[in-house]
């Protein structure tokens, strides 16, 4: 009994243990890693990525995949700047309107994504990949390839105003993560994601509207991507069509490293939070200890595989999908 208990627990806590292990490792190599300033740096880097990763977590829990994040983040970031400037250019002058508008825009992109996937019966990875490209294309079209800047001090307070050493956007992200957790564990929609991911046929046979659940999943993911888009603007003070670059790899890596099963039904928001932190700690740590650039990508890849091996119970799947 003892042995199995620890095995089960090991699986549940593995991602967190990996995270702690990495932090100890980097601190041992360079004590500067373990400083409040560095943690704030990690948190800022992780903030938009976490929003994207949470969005895609819902989809992965359903057993689908969403690859539209780069396009969606890029497009919402650009749109945000435009709406922000068009409505006064400062929060005080009424440009806050841009926030709900962009969240809605994110939801809309997700809706299109979901409809294409469900109604046209196109596999989610194809549908979302295509929508992602459309998003990037639209962003290029709107900006004409230029960079759009925002410098409104009140809006940039997301980055500059610090509470206990961490910028405001970190708290925004924490609140969003709590909302995501609430959706996951306290709403019918969240439960439905797990039902669809754990047994689609059964969910259908239980009278669930599986197609609706799928579409709503993409809508929800779109909203979280839009939040990431806004945070990305807050972080950089500008947006361009490639503002969403790299999010695909980072977010999906994080989700898997955190222990969310790609075949659906297993894992959740907390896994993703830990996964995002792991990936960002690795990224940051490699810089802090002065690992050469050309080794960093390879290292990240290796660590991802190690983390997946450690954190998922692959034994329980009799036939791997």
């Amino acid at each position: 009994m003892k042995r199995l208990m620890t095995r089960e627990n090991a699986i549940r806590w593995a991602p967190l243990l990996v995270l702690i292990g990495l932090m100890i490792l980097f601190t041992a190599i360079n004590p500067a890693f373990l400083s409040q300033r560095n943690f704030a740096r990690i948190a800022i880097a992780a903030a938009p990525a976490l929003m994207v990763a949470i969005g895609v977590t819902f989809i992965i829990v359903m057993g689908s995949i969403d690859l539209s994040m780069e396009g969606t983040v890029g497009l919402t970031a650009v749109l945000f700047c435009f709406v922000f400037l068009a409505t006064g250019g400062t929060l005080a002058a009424g440009a806050w309107v841009a926030v709900p508008v962009i969240l809605l825009a994110g939801a809309l992109i997700g809706l299109v994504n979901g409809l294409v996937h469900v109604k046209l019966r196109i596999p989610s990875f194809m549908a979302s990949l295509a929508i992602g490209f459309v998003g990037t294309g639209a962003a290029v079209l709107i900006t004409g390839g230029d960079i759009v800047k925002i410098d409104d001090d009140t809006f940039r307070a997301l980055l500059t105003w610090r509470i206990a050493g961490f910028p405001l956007m970190v708290y925004v992200v924490i609140v969003m993560a709590l909302i995501a957790w609430f959706i996951q564990s306290h709403t019918t929609l969240g439960r439905n994601f797990y039902a669809v991911g754990g047994g689609e046929e059964l969910a259908h046979a239980s009278g669930l509207n599986v197609r609706r659940v799928r579409i709503l999943g993409f809508v929800l993911a779109g909203v979280f991507y839009a939040v990431a888009g806004i945070l990305q603007v807050a972080k950089l003070g500008q947006a361009e069509s490639v503002s969403g670059a790299n999010f695909m790899f980072i977010s999906i890596t994080s989700v898997v490293v955190g222990g969310v099963a790609l075949w659906g039904g297993i894992g959740g928001i907390w896994n993703t939070v830990v996964g995002v932190l792991i990936v960002n700690v690795i990224n940051n740590g490699m810089v802090v200890i002065g690992l050469p650039d050309y080794l960093q990508d390879g290292m990240l890849g290796l660590l991802v595989i190690v983390a997946v091996v450690l954190s998922t119970d692959r034994r329980s799947i009799s036939f791997v999908k």
């Binding site: 199995l4 564990s185 019918t188 039902a195 754990g198 059964l202 046979a205």
Partner: protein, 501 residues
Amino acid sequence: MYQLKAVDKKFPGVHALKAVDFEIKRGEIVGLVGENGAGKSTLMKVIYGAYQPDGGTVSIDGKAVRFQNPRQAMEKGIGMVFQEQSLIPNLTVMENIFLGYERQFVRLGVINWKAMSEAAEKQLAKVKLDIDPATITSALSFAQRQLVELAKVLTLEERVDGDLVILLDEPTSVLAEDEVKMLFTIVRDLTKRASFIFVSHRMDEVMELSDRIYVMKDGAVVDVVARGAATVEQIQHKMVGRSVDREYYREQRQKPYDASKVLLEMDRVSLPGRIKDISLTLHAGEVLCLVGTEGAGREAILRTIYGMRTPVSGTLKIKGNEIRAFNPQAAVAAGVGYVPRERKIEGIVAGMNVYENMTLSQMGRYSRAGVLNVAAEKALARDWIGKLSIKAHSEFADCGNLSGGNQQKVVLSKWRSGGSDIMLLDHPTRGLDIGAKEDVYEMIRDMSDDGVGVILVADTLEEAIGLSHNIIVLKDGAIQQRFDCKPGAKPTLYDLLHYMI
């Protein structure tokens, strides 16, 4: 020849096997009986190497062995036919039979399909199954799939020199009577070459087939009975630790139904190739039994009512409203509940816990504006865990880890608690021990008292006769005969069989 000594197995919160001693001799058929969750499947899994015991020894011909995985066990001649079917539905029969052992047909990296097909035919002949080995598995009936599983295990005969031990975990629960008979003939025939371990909840079958019977209770072997050394009642007493009610089907609780209140009406409904011109009515408080052989259309009728199939002609009225859009959501909304036969695919979601599974079809009742009332869900689960004595360490237990019978109980409570007033039960007592069966019969009577209409596809003809107000006998998708089953004036087995075949 094959021996277990003081074998122990623990799961988090469950001591599934307690110092079990078990032995099987060459050419012997050993029965294994016990309540749901007694540890039968776990014992089987230890034997064929899917689980490693936490304590005790396993030996073959006196030599200690330790299997890391089923493949190692197979190499020693131990094969398993699963309780929940394990064939891969989208592969062909022959691919399933030789799954993992294709190498013998590979020449220069290419599979010789013809050779594989011939070899598969040889295996299928052993179980007297006459189908094309290139058939896609999902096109087969349950019974045929069961036989394919057996054929797959029998490939060991060629691969292994030593003795074979073949494990059958509830192989008969989805089979019709004649299919069971055939399976038994095949098994007896094969004892020349193999020993068998046979798990079933049908006592008469176990008594008929086994040379010795192991009785398990709460993870321990409480008795070993030689053939003919005990009656069914005595063994059942050992299993449940009390005597079993003689008035099994609760006939005394069968009351006349409310003929004025029609819940469901089918009028000349047809589905090409499955059912034709089916007309039936279901009243409040009525138990209507559909009887027939596999493929006679019983399941198709249930699935049509539940909206999983759309008929090409005829009408279906639920509570007076004609159904136009056939889908399960509409059916659930109209108050229909469905306990399907294939538990693994359509019964429970493995990975979700007990309360999540129970409220899956009725989340609307446990939520407000989309926000779930988890406390109420948990209370519901605890309530039913108590009512049906579901063996689960708590409402947080993963349903995928429950024993087969306990999963079935979760499915039943899911629909019973959902307040459906038209219940479609397909083999509701499949895989349940006698104690739990009684609970289900009691539950069916309770439902009648509450004015619920039940359409039942029973596990046995006796069950059908005992429980129903009315019986419809089906053959080849058409209604052959209707029987009125008032208590005291019930038709006999023979009456029904006459119209079935």
